[in-house]
Symmetry: C2
Subunit: 153 residues, 2 copies
Amino acid sequence: MSEGVEWALHTCVNLAWVGRPVGSARLAAFYGLPPAYLNKRLQNLVRAGILTSVPGPKGGFTLARDPASISLLDVVTAIEGPDPAFRCTGILGDSPWGDKTADHPSSCVIAVAMRRAELAWRRELAGQTIADVCATVERRAPGEPERTRRWFG
Amino acid sequence: MSEGVEWALHTCVNLAWVGRPVGSARLAAFYGLPPAYLNKRLQNLVRAGILTSVPGPKGGFTLARDPASISLLDVVTAIEGPDPAFRCTGILGDSPWGDKTADHPSSCVIAVAMRRAELAWRRELAGQTIADVCATVERRAPGEPERTRRWFG
DNA sequence: GGTAGCGTACTCGGATAGAAGTTGTCCGAGTGCGACAGG
DNA sequence: CCTGTCGCACTCGGACAACTTCTATCCGAGTACGCTACC
């Protein structure tokens, strides 16, 4: 899985705490990440409707909607793309008595088993939101949001 | 995810049906796959203790143990490696007040959430064995094992 | 005719190229602020 | 002193390389069979 997923998730949490536009350069400086590349990843989140971007001075990135409505799956999908990790190429259709017209991703027993596992993965990710992460961190370290907000301000 | 995972899974099912050594060339011919590359992947399964290899004529690959004791997770892990898809690099330690000595993969809320999801994925995969897949296919197409055995023989 | 030795053909196994995706970098288009000149 | 205009600095956004991983291929080491020659 892309390393950008980790960056995007942590950045979303920071943005949830700050609450106003922050430039990619400053967001990257917080973790010592390459600014341009983080920018490239945040663009993925903008296209997915997770962030909104504001150009010009005082511009930057902000969460496009409430943190409680942004699941971890949303972020992961925005970065990694919508394709499942296991992709059935339908090699059963290439077997001696294979049917190339059949819908193998749906009929192949192996493909179904793999998709079921991936669905369980997605369900877990969809059940956790950015707001949940923020709440857990805040419960563990109550001063974290304020401290972060100050650093970015 | 590597495409070789799909090849390895289907090949394991075929090997379970045939029950005796089959060379990688013939296994690859069944699906029209590149023989040498399939061989390379089956070597991964040998190292993982899933298959046994027999050199020389009449040689080839065989399941090393009962199909009921080979889970889909075993095969996936053998091909993809033991590392989890999401890898916590501990960027929290690089934040302004980050602690580089902390065990971030265990303490970071995001890392924990991602690992939980991946655990659900692994659990689903571990719950399905090659024998289960064989049984499901056989229930749907009763003649499949015999037909496959004949093609390889 | 039976048997020991040898050659051959076939297998796996690891070392070697090519393609694709990820990671990293750069520069251009657009925007808001601040300075400056004029009224 | 107030206001309209201009320049500038800062932002995102997409286009352009370097590197790692995946895909594909080739050739060498080892083994079992089959043939041959000998007893």
